[in-house]
Subunit: 344 residues, 2 copies
């Protein structure tokens, strides 16, 4: 299997994120995640690891608003240039906003801190010196995987940072560019595409991007946002709008969901995919569904993860598998290998 | 002059707020602010200090959405009851969200942390044990001041916490209930009302509440949100909507604005008020316009503050003056006395 990986991800290494209650914690989304996956893949006999091709900004701008992309490109330099006293920003180790453009209408402001709270929805996607370079490389891994399945069966993009929480014009939840959505859009030029998101958290960014599109069927199976991040999207009644009505599906799961219930839900999703008859499949592959994940509250075993892979592979579609979350570093590599091993 | 004050404000004393960059700092909005003002008022010969009358919830629900008020009422108890491990909330000294319902549509979630980011727009309005009780008492001070001007010339509500950043269904910027808006709405039952906001920061909450109302003329003079909090509202082109079109006015000022330029702007606002011919006036009186304020970037002297008071008093309208911001504690009491001293 062709694997696309760039070590530019090391340049994105924020030291912390901020949890509820205003508490700084060491971030869970660390470079070690990709290192562990890479090490596990290298031990298999089938992983061919390639650097990504540079697709340029156009493939990203097809999915994200230009002003948002420009914000990501310049935010770090602007942050360093702000007057620390004037902006009351005494620690510049990472850019995080303190004020957010809440629900409803909001004027787009000129200042850096105003734009930060306009484009960032939470305190888990800090911007540091190498964030933009790493996010670009991550998107190029996904695009390379998408291009590769036009002449092979399945590929894997070892993306870091992940992508599925990033919307048209916002980052959040460790995500900056929506790698899977960028790949799915690229593939949509060649036929109907399905994007299936199995990450533990609802793919709110992907939902935002494809909500009004009927040529990309987007499906997300995830922890119920009634109790879990990202809270404000991912509900069963959100089924698309306009030309996209009926082409988005959310399958929220209760805390504690095990293999059996998960696979039953997956079967319902696979049924929708078969009916849609796509020419290509993109998988947002988060391994935080794993029973021992520090951020997850559902309980999928490694054997369950293998079976999820096997059932998706039975669709026999060209499939680009895009790495998303998963924070149990000791298990992460083996979980990814168990999943990918079911694909040809 | 009748002054309304409740020492229930002491129950609202968060230890910190979070600034840009994810930095905890000691909060600027401290109980000492009200103590200093009270001490300065007690030294004058004219301040008659009264406890507020309890107006009940209906006067607050006339301005704020019920679900938001219910959130404020129960948030602290719910926060204490959350499983610290499950919610990754290791420090419960104050409730602050880490994820926010950004621009556009957002599903209203059931969970406490989801609702926190739905109703709270920044990291400067933490909820602690006594927040709700203090906010209720603060609103009652404003209502008491409003009621008093139906049979006297001018009154002062020594409100803490302040209110003008609180919208129909959000808190932020040290504000929970919009005391001045609650007072203005109460007065609107008796005739046309003008709410003039002279706090350094744009009164985005007040703008939100009265934006579609033509019976309350709302005017805010403030630091340009292009560079200053609250960033997403307070621009000159925002002039109301529907029945309220033309009945909201923002006067954004550049950093460094001095007395002379400020008073010229104030004259334009006073002209609008004279044309509107209200029967009552509510002032959101923030003293963070003061040249030595630690959060402000404009440069109004104490003599300038006195002149602002004098010019407003020349309107000879029944006037309820509501305390908002002001964070130079050494100067705060004298600034308030200089302002109030111009009113009968």
């Amino acid at each position: 299997m062709k694997i696309f990986y760039s070590d530019l991800h090391f340049q994105h290494a924020p030291a912390f994120e901020v949890f509820d209650g205003g508490v700084r914690v060491p971030t869970f989304e660390v470079p070690e995640r990709a290192e562990r996956i890479l090490a596990a893949l290298r031990k298999t006999g089938w992983a061919e690891i390639h650097p990504p091709i540079d697709f340029g900004l156009d493939s990203i701008l097809a999915v994200h608003d230009r002003d948002y992309v420009e914000f990501l490109a310049s935010a770090w330099t602007e942050w360093l240039a702000t007057d620390p006293e004037a902006e009351s920003a005494t620690d510049k180790s990472a850019l995080l906003p303190a004020t957010f453009a809440l629900r409803g209408q909001a004027h787009r402001p000129k200042s850096l801190l105003g734009r930060a709270g306009y484009y960032m929805m939470d305190l888990s996607a800090p911007i540091v010196a190498g964030t933009y370079a790493a996010a670009l490389a991550s998107a190029n891994c996904a695009l390379s995987a998408a291009q590769a399945i036009t002449h092979t069966t399945s590929t894997f993009a070892l993306c870091r940072p992940p992508g599925h929480h990033a919307g048209k014009s916002h980052c959040g939840g460790y995500c900056y560019f929506n790698n899977a959505a960028i790949a799915a859009h690229w593939l949509s030029a060649h036929g109907k595409v399905t994007l299936l998101d199995i990450d533990y958290h609802a793919g709110n960014g992907t939902q935002d991007i494809f909500y009004e599109r009927g040529d990309v069927l987007s499906i997300s199976i995830h922890a119920d946002p009634a109790f879990e991040y990202p809270y404000y999207a991912g509900y069963a009644e959100e089924r698309g709008a306009g030309a996209g009505l009926g082409f988005h599906h959310n399958f929220p799961l209760p805390a504690g969901t095990g293999d059996e219930e998960y696979l039953t839900t997956l079967n319902a999703a696979l049924h929708l995919i078969r009916e849609f008859q796509p020419t290509a499949l993109v998988i947002s592959a988060g391994m935080d569904i794993y029973s021992e994940d520090p951020l997850g509250k559902i309980r999928i075993t490694r054997e369950g993860i293998r079976q999820i892979g096997a059932r998706i592979a039975e669709l026999r579609l060209p499939t680009a598998i895009i790495m998303e979350g998963g924070y149990n570093n000791d298990a992460l590599g083996d979980n990814v290998v168990a999943f990918l091993g079911e694909f040809e």
